[in-house]
Amino acid sequence: MSRFTKIALIGLILFPFAFLLMLSVGRQWPYPAVFPEQWSLGNWQLVLVGSEGLGNSVLLSVLLSLSVATLSTGLSFWVSRHIAYHPKREAWLSLAYFPYVFAPVILAACLQFFFIVAGLYGTFGGVLLAQLFITFPYGVIFFSSFWNERLRSMEELVKTLGGSTLQAYAKVLVPVAKGALMTCFFQLFLISWFEYGLTNLIGVGKVPTLTLRVFQYVNEANIFLAALASCLLILPPVALLWLNRAVVFRERIAP
């Protein structure tokens, strides 16, 4: 690939990011101006000190995604072991594909009634549980290929030497699975972080995550705040990507 094509491709990839960043610091953008007429960091200050509540949405989104990712990763790691070592592993695993038959938003629509009955409709706990329904099976599928005979032998060795199940997890399985656990955690964090339809339907707008804020600002035709909320949504995944690259790069050059 020529240098020019490479630069053109990178430019194309970066265009949406630059465009959203431009709108997030813009104020006046009358037609047919190509760029906003006023530039200001005022919108960004709203995140920190303003009354728009964007800072609260950031915290809420972080708390929700961290909770979903932690719970799903932990539970799916533990459960996937019992599925992977079952003689009818494939049949069990096919159940994990069930949630993907539905689009998440349609799943939420069909489950609304049960969330109302359980008193979870419009609550943080309800949204967390609903997101578990799509992240947990993903985690089980993710870890299903992790368990193998070598790990089983290591686990049995711990027990032969007098160790408990808890010790086998703490001293052997979790350290061995550290990389897979981190990858799964990041992926589940992102699924939760990007979720809109299901969160909106089960949360009834009372759990205003950042994705809901973007939609709210678009509806209010406030493109500058919508762009700002979009930037805030993109920031953590980009940071995770950067971190991942830095770690991989460090591992590659390590002796």
Binding site: L14, P32, C110, F133, V218, S230, V238
Partner: protein, 285 residues
């Protein structure tokens, strides 16, 4: 003994969190659509199903969802295969191997907003066209969002799917040692066109069929993008279902649940087809 209970506990939790919600959701939707539950329930009736199945708009919705998914995936596949086959190493080593991941960090709702601001009548491309003298008024810019052909939806999905398939095929190219196959084909006298269309594309598509199909279903059931940049007259399945559920007319709710069940049946049929094809392929090899 303790281990056996842990295994039972683990598997029960698995069923509880993956199968139970789906079975409960589909059962509730089916019962509602048959008039057996819900505020409007008056006993068993097929009226809602008859209404849905006889409604041209419902079939248009299903057809439109299939059309958007098929066109988006075909364009994204074409672009990603062209990129990977042109420079297979570019996406696994060097700067592009990092930059190609960046579009994956854009959520669907942000992509929809971006497309709206880019392709809308008052969007950035319209403004650039005005400055270049290509149009003299906002109305002259073509309808690329909220249009009946789903152009905005397709463009948004192509932008999201192309980097994903590029990464996927670039890794597949390496893992399947496609370079060696292509070299062998060249040694046996295959020209460039034959190497691409007789060797590379069939290998990559056959290996990636399940992923391509799952992405197809993801696009078909997408919600945020058609909600923001889709048309009101021709809707995708998720948007039509949710809008009917959220209307004030309670009579629309059973029909919304009937659409949910019909969509689920369609996806299950498509999935079964994929599994059948996969088994057939495995039987052949």
């Amino acid at each position: 003994m303790q281990q056996r209970w842990a295994a039972y506990g683990g598997r029960s939790l698995f069923v509880l969190l993956s199968a139970v919600p789906i079975v409960a959701g589909v059962s509730y939707a089916l019962l509602y659509s048959l008039g057996l539950t819900g505020v409007m329930a008056e006993g068993f009736t097929l009226a809602h199903w008859q209404e849905i199945l006889g409604d041209a708009a419902f079939w248009r919705t299903l057809g439109f969802s299939l059309y958007v998914a098929a066109v988006s995936i075909l364009i994204a596949l074409g672009l990603s295969l062209a990129l990977v086959l042109r420079s297979p190493q570019a996406f696994t080593k060097g700067e592009l191997s990092f930059f190609i991941y960046l579009p994956l960090s854009i959520p669907a709702i942000v992509m929809a907003f971006f497309i709206f601001q880019l392709l809308g009548k008052g969007g950035w491309l319209s403004r650039v066209s005005h400055q270049l003298g290509l149009i003299s008024a906002l109305e002259q810019f073509p309808d690329w969002v909220n249009d009946n052909y789903g152009i905005g939806i397709i463009v948004a999905h192509v932008i999201m799917a192309t980097p994903f398939f590029t990464i996927f095929f670039a890794n597949l190219y390496q893992n399947e040692r496609l370079g060696e196959y292509l070299h062998l084909a060249a040694t046996l006298g295959a020209n460039g066109r034959q190497r691409v269309f007789r060797v590379a594309v069939p290998v990559l598509l056959r290996r990636g069929l399940a992923t391509v199909f799952l992405y197809f279903m993801f696009v078909m059931g997408s919600y945020e993008i058609p909600l923001l940049v889709g048309s009101q007259s021709v809707q995708m399945v998720s948007v039509r279902t949710i809008q009917r559920l959220q209307r004030y007319n309670l009579g629309d709710i059973p029909e919304a649940y009937a659409i949910s069940v019909a969509y689920t049946v369609l996806v299950v049929v498509l999935l079964s087809g994929l599994l059948w094809y996969n088994r057939k392929q495995m039987g052949r090899t």
